[in-house]
Every structure is written in structure tokens, then in C-alpha cells.
Symmetry: C2
Subunit: 562 residues, 2 copies
Amino acid sequence: MSKHYSVGLDFGTNSVRALVVDVSNGREIGTGVWNYVRGTDGVILSRDPNLARQHPAEYVRGTERSLRQALADAKRNHRGFSPPQVVGLGVDTTGSTPLPLDKAGKPLAFQKDFAKDNDALAWLWKDHTSVVEAGEITSLARQIRPGYLAKCGGVYSSEWYFSKMLHCARTNRKVFDASYLWLEIADWIPAMLTGTEDPSKLSVGVCAAGHKAMYSQQWGGYPDAEFLGRLDPRLAERCSPMPSRAKSVDQAVGGLTRDWAKRTGLMEGIPVAVGAFDAHLGAIGAGISTETLVKIIGTSTCDITIVPRKFPLKDIPGLCGIVDGSVLPDYFGLEAGQSAVGDIFNWFVNYIQPRGAKDSHASLSASARKLRAGESGLLALDWNNGNRTILVDQKLAGMLVGQTLYTTPAEIYRALIEATAFGALTIINRLEEYGVHIGQVVNCGGIAEKNPLVMQIYADITGRPMRVSRSAQTCALGAAIAGAVVAGKQAGGHANFEEAQRAMTGLKPRAYEPDRSAHDVYKELYGLYRTLHDAFGTKDWNGNLHHVMKQLIDIRDRVRRG
Amino acid sequence: MSKHYSVGLDFGTNSVRALVVDVSNGREIGTGVWNYVRGTDGVILSRDPNLARQHPAEYVRGTERSLRQALADAKRNHRGFSPPQVVGLGVDTTGSTPLPLDKAGKPLAFQKDFAKDNDALAWLWKDHTSVVEAGEITSLARQIRPGYLAKCGGVYSSEWYFSKMLHCARTNRKVFDASYLWLEIADWIPAMLTGTEDPSKLSVGVCAAGHKAMYSQQWGGYPDAEFLGRLDPRLAERCSPMPSRAKSVDQAVGGLTRDWAKRTGLMEGIPVAVGAFDAHLGAIGAGISTETLVKIIGTSTCDITIVPRKFPLKDIPGLCGIVDGSVLPDYFGLEAGQSAVGDIFNWFVNYIQPRGAKDSHASLSASARKLRAGESGLLALDWNNGNRTILVDQKLAGMLVGQTLYTTPAEIYRALIEATAFGALTIINRLEEYGVHIGQVVNCGGIAEKNPLVMQIYADITGRPMRVSRSAQTCALGAAIAGAVVAGKQAGGHANFEEAQRAMTGLKPRAYEPDRSAHDVYKELYGLYRTLHDAFGTKDWNGNLHHVMKQLIDIRDRVRRG
């Protein structure tokens, strides 16, 4: 029987990755990575440190190069593989990364007139030029459309779709007026692959629309024209061509064009799934199911879980997003996140502890592993880059308490790991307070794979087993799974996500089980973390902190006595 | 006209220093230092990490060696100097460092029976074996003699005289029962030099008695027998041979014995001043006067000021001690202190930033000097070793708030310096709240002499000029001044301390003046420091800290914009 494969295309901040996956068992048989060439590692910068753009030509070229590499790699590695065995294709991207398009759905950046205009490029997720506009949107929504904010944590971010559009409207009339609509690259790339860029044929994904553009069926789609018009009448105009109904990743936007088939060797017409954000397809690649939290741990984290649509889910304060169908169809996708995790460890190693050795993380982890919970007397807050969930507040900072004259770098390093774990537990607790039970956690990313100390501390602090996703490329794998599902069973793909995930995803065998006695100590420490969290992070806390240092010292002395 | 000289003997934790000083101008013409030989750098340790003792034979041998060295050094350096030109001698020591003595005033440690018993040695100031007993004394005093505590910050310390005696009474009956009385080495060494050890001839200094042994003329001397008896009847017995009236350093305990004259070449009978603690005579050597705070900055600090006896001085909560005559006769001596200053900078350099280079302090200071007040966004508490003034609480710890992903070691180093300066300001403010005005600060010690950044930050934060003492050996100089005063004018010394200080002390020419704009920023930061200080350090604070990080970020952004 002939094998079938699907391809996932994962558009990151600095590169695009193509992954060829065996739909019957999830084996990843070919990989291609194309690093973007324009700007600094693919990111176009300017004097304004907040600006971060990307040229859409990178997506076109990157798709071709990474796909051809991956297919060649698969042929090399896997006897009998040939590109026509690929039955479907999925796409995930960074986001919110909107791109201004003309009336034909082509990027303005491809026009000569705008060739040198940074505002005609894709506005990368990490572009922070739109802080003022984000404040304006939040403030107007609070006044007249509070429901819009309830699904996105109560604050509309400068990283998101309408903030960026509005900033362009305010600061670059030429680009804004020439634009007909703005699409997330998660939508534009699948359209480009299937020749459906024309607004009349266009599909948009509910993941990007719901999480970043205040889209919800609850109010009939995108924000209404009155609301957008109050911000800027042209904003309402630019939104009006958008499809009234966004789709989830079980649907195809179309079939691969003849041109793309020629350029890659894939079959013309194979279905391309609706695009979604990397973390959301990553969650699928990590085997997400109800009561499982998928943590994609990198410089920051994205935490995803799902809840059946029939569940009586309320708005959850402080959660970045709750979107019907944003991960899997028929489920609410719930997104949370920590603004810095790996970045905090990297800061400590690169800025505070530069030892000249490349293995600083390893050597600090080795020393930190010998410490017991509570024995350093330290407690940290993980806010060096603000707090995304549950406080949704960038204007916060890191904190370390409990230093003595003998505190060591390994103790601080461990305290920083613990702080991120306390942050993770705070997210889990918030979900559970609203009835969303989290039984296990599946972790993805380099830290989860390479640092058992981090995983053990996460298990000990959250009191839940930590698992690690089998695939090291969960986002691309998730995209490939979407490709397999839109191909359908008859074409050699899968009937639905449940079946596809069962066949194509898995966990590494090692489970990090919570240590009971460490967990007991951490329960006490978490009480203190939560006190500091609320005291420094919320307006309504009122109290005294006289006990904090004393309790840290008591715990330390008790643990040291053994 | 023949020159006259005096000698100061400064008994430190690890060594004794003798200093020969020209009484007419304060020139230091000869120095001798003798490092103690027993134990670890002169400190006898045991398995119990709290134990720190010293053998009294060190004081006898150290006196002879350092004196002979200093006199030889003076002869070498200074043509025409001869030891008979020395007209008086003063002594300062660490403390509280009590020593158990027999009925003749000789150390028990000199008896064969006790030769190997650590409890028969001098109990060094930093011996912390008596924590339980200190608690017991504090608690009893709170119940029945609250007045006793009001002069020593509200808490009787484990470092102090009666705690140590009581611990010995409880744990080593043999030594305690064999002891007839316990003397501070500040009292015993002058007695030993003048042959006045016999309890009938004995003098005790008001500095040690007042600051460490709850002595006050207000209640007729040492604590009453009922109070001591409630702790242990034998404690009252051991206290009964103590002189009923303690003396200040303008009085002599006697004349140098023939034996000591022979051993050193000094004249027999020259007066030896009443002994006092190093910081108190150091304050004299630094030129203390009213409205001047002398800060002796080392690993920790001792802060001393004086107030005329006629001033209607109230008890000042949180101050380590207020003792009539403890620094200068006719003035209240006020002692405060910070539990760690240099120790915090050393911790950061030695533990957190070990760069292999010896000049880490210099290189961090050089980078930190380029920063402006507030621009790091950091704020620290200086409690890595607890807080001596004004909280009087060992059970506190360090804290750093405001870290981002880009915080540098120099920023942290500067924040730690600032934290100690905020701690210094808190002490000054407490004094001023009780009417004790502090117009200028005179600093002593290696950090003050070598680190202009620290001095400038202290000036900018306290809003007061910082001066540095001219002498690098202020404690020994202060002791020599006491020697010159007890010698008297006719013998070639001085009539009183005012005259002696005018002649023998001085300041380095450089004055660190507060920078107005830095001071304004630091006023805001001090408000936040004080909020954290009160929130974590006091029981009665009640409030919210939501503004703290935000204000730090606002100040940072404002300063960076310039």
C-alpha cells in the first residue's frame, strides 16, 4: 500500500521551516529551513527601536526554498518517497503579523511605489510602534464595547491587528489609503499558495481573527463599523472586505496552484488548510486534548488548552484569548502565556553571569539541581518582561527577595526557574478557578527537551506530571496534521483531528512526576509568591508583608536542618 | 620646645594596632600591627558556627609587640623621637567582648584548669551562641523593666554582655561558677596595663556598660539584682562586684605599671585612659561634634553622633544605643548602624560576579559611575544581613526590584550602593525626627577613602555633604586622643577633648556635595525605598504596592529621555 504524507510550513520570525510527515505514524522524514535574508535575520529594523517588519517576498521565496529542501531531504532519507505522495499542506505563522494588500489581494510592498516604504511591509508581531493606538482602542472598547475585551484579557495589545492598522492610518496616509485590506500572513500565505488572494475568494482563519482582531460569532464577526469608525472611518472601510465568517483549520482555503505545483514537485490541487498561529498548530502537534495544557516554552511561553464548545465557559479575566475553534473545531481555544521564561534564564547567564563558557546553563543547572526546594531562602517574580497572564501588564518588572551575604548564582538561577514555574501555576490556577481542569502539562521547545531540572521543578511546583512532546518541531507538525485532515481520509489523510493526532503525535517516554515533599514546600512558597504577585501586580490588594522574609528564612532553616 | 606624643591601642577582631601620634598636630609618626596567632586569624572557632572566641593572652602579647613595633617605627621615621616623650595612652577594642575573670581580676583562661575550655576565653562580639538567652532577657525586660530596653533599640542582642554570661551560666557551670566577674576587654586591657585588675581598684567605661550592659545613671548603674536574679541568681552575684559608677574616656584608670614601662620603653606611671569601643573612639578620631554623623564604613557600619547632655533628648526607637558620656563627656553618645555595607558589595563581587580580576570593585564602579540616578529602574533593600537600625531585626533579607531582560551587573552594583545610602538616610531621618539635626557626615574606612562613587551617591541621596576623615586609622587615633587628654595640658597633652580634637583631627580636603538634580530623583526613589522598608520591615504598615514598579519604570524612562 502506498504511503501518504503531508507537509507543514512553519513561518517563524527569522526563518521558514517545511516538514514532510508520514500521516500514518507522524514520522518526520524531511525538513527544510530557509533563513530570511532581508534586514537583520529577516527582520527589518529602523531607528525606532519599536519597529519590526518583514518583506512578504521572503514568504514567497522561503516557501519555495524550504519546500524544495524538505522534499529533497525526504527523498534522500526515505526510499520510495516522492512528492506526489503528499496529500495536503498546512501553514502556521507568527502573529499578529498583518500585511497591507491592494484590491487584488497582492502586497503593496510588491508595487514599485511602495518598494522602499517600511509601512507597506508585514508588521511583525513584535512591532511595538502602536502603543498609543492600542491604548485608544482599549479605552474606546471599555466605553462602548466591553464585550470585545472580555475575550482578550481586558486589554487590546499594541502587538495586534487593529493597533497596527490604526497606527498606519495615523502616520502614513499614503500606504494606508493605497491599502484595500490588511491580512494576517497566516491568511495571506495559504491564499497565495492557492490563488485565492482576491478578496472575493478569500478565507480567513478564526485563530488570528479571534485572538487578535476581536472577531467572534457572538457579535457577528469582526468589530462593527460604528466601533471601528469611531477610531477612524477608514479603519471601518478597510475591514469591510473581510469575510464575514472565519474558518478553523479543518477547512481548506483551496488547492495548490499549478504554478506552485511546478515550482515544488507537489501535485496541483492538493488542499491547503486554513492558516493559524504557530502556538495553536503547535498545540495540535503536541497532542492537545481537554484537561491538557500545552506549554510552548521558548524565550517566552504560549500556553494553550481547549474546552468543548458545549462547556458553559465564562470569560476568564486575564486570559489573552478565548476563541471558538481557534485550535480545534468544536472546541474553545484558550490562550495564555508568560512574557519571559527562557529570556529570564538567558538574561541571568548572558548579562549577570558571563563565564566565557558556552555551558553556563548546564553548569548552573547542575549546581541548582543539588539544592532542595526552599533551601536558598530566595523567591523571585518572573516579570522581567512584564506579565501577559493573568495580570496583562507590561509595566511590571522582575524582583528577587531573600538574598543574604552568601547567596550563590546557582541559588538565584534556581529561584528564577521557580519563579517561572510559579507563573505557570498561576495560569493553571486561574483556568481551574473558572472550571477548566488541567490534569497534565505537555511541554514543547528546547528548554523542555534539554533541561530536566526545569521540568522537575515545574512538576514539583504545579503538582502535576510534566510531559514533553515527542516532536521537536511541533508547530510544523501541527501544520502538517492540518494538511492531513483537509486532505481527508479518502485521499490518504485523516478524517478528523482526533484520528490524525492519535496517529501522528506522541510524548517522550519520560514523565516528570511531582515529588511530594518538594511540592509541600513549594505550596508554602507559592503562597508567598502569590502575596507578592498580588501586592505588586494588582490594585485591589491591601495588606502587610512583614511575614514574607521571615517565612522565607524559616522555610530555609527548616529545609537545611533536614 | 620638646614634642609630646600619645599612643592609641586599637584591639580589632584579628589584630591589634598601636599608633604613635604627635599631640600638637595629629601627625601619625609610628604604627605597629600585631596579628593574633591563635585560631583562625586570631578567632577561636568550633563546630558550632555561632561560636567566636579570643584568648586573652593575645591581648597581652599583642600589646607588647605592637607597642614596641610602633615605637621603633616612630624612632625610625622621626628624628628626635624617644618613647619617654609619650605622655599618655588610650585603648579601644571590639565589643561587646566580655571575659570571665577570677577574684583577682585575672582571666580564668590563664588557669591550668581552664586552659582548654573555650568558655573561659573572651567571647567575641560576633559570637552568636546566646540567641536564646538574648530573647529571654528581652522578654523579661519588656515585662518588668521596659526602661532598660528603651536605650538600646528595644531589643537586647545576643552579641551583648549579659546574653553571653547567661549562656555560660546555662551551659558551662564549671566556668561560670569559677568566674568572679566578667569584664569587657575594653575595661580589662587598661586595667592590665595599670595593675588595677583587682575588683577593688577596677574602673569600667561607660561606653561598653551603657551600650551593652544596660548601665545607666538613670537607674543607678547596672541592672538591679532583682531583674538579674530573675534571669539567674548567679548572674546577679557576678554583677555585684562591678563598680557602681562607670567612667568616660576623659578619665584615667591608672598609671602604666613598671613592668609595662620596662617591656616597652614608655615612662612608668603615664596615664592610661578608660577604654571604649573602637567605633566610639573612632568617632573622636574623625572629629565628631554636634550635628555631625560619623560613619565608620566597613563590612558593616557604625554610625555615631553626639548631643549635649542638656539637650532634652527622648528615647529614639530603633537606635542601638543612647548613652550619657559614651563618646565624649557631657554629651549623649548615640550609636546606630547598618548590618551590612561593604559586605553587600563584596557579596556581589565575590559570589555573583567573580571575574577573576582583582579590580572588580573598580571596574563595576567605573561602569556604575556612568549611570544617572534612576536610569536603571532598579531599587534594592540593604538587608542581606538583617537590619540593625532602625528596625533592629536580624530576620530580614535582601531584595532587588525592577530587573528587566537587559539589567546589567553595573546597574545592580549601583543599586546596592544606593540601597546602603537609603539605609543611611533612614538612620539620619530617624535622628532628625527626634530633634537630632545632622548637618554633615564624616566617613571613615577603606570604602570612604577609595570609592568616590559611593561617597557621591551618599551625598546625592542624603542631600548632605560627605566628608572623609583625614586619618586612615581613626580608632587608634581616637584612643591616642584620649591618651593625650588624660595626660593633661601640663604634662604636654590637652586640657580637654575639644582642644585635642582641634589639634589632632582633620578632614580630607575633598567634599562631596550633593548634586541637586540627582537628589531630586533620589527623593522619589527614597519614597519607594521607604515604602518597601515599611511594608516588609514593620508590622503596622498596611497598603498596596501596585505603584512601585510603575513608578520605577516611569522614573527610568524619564531619566533616559533626559
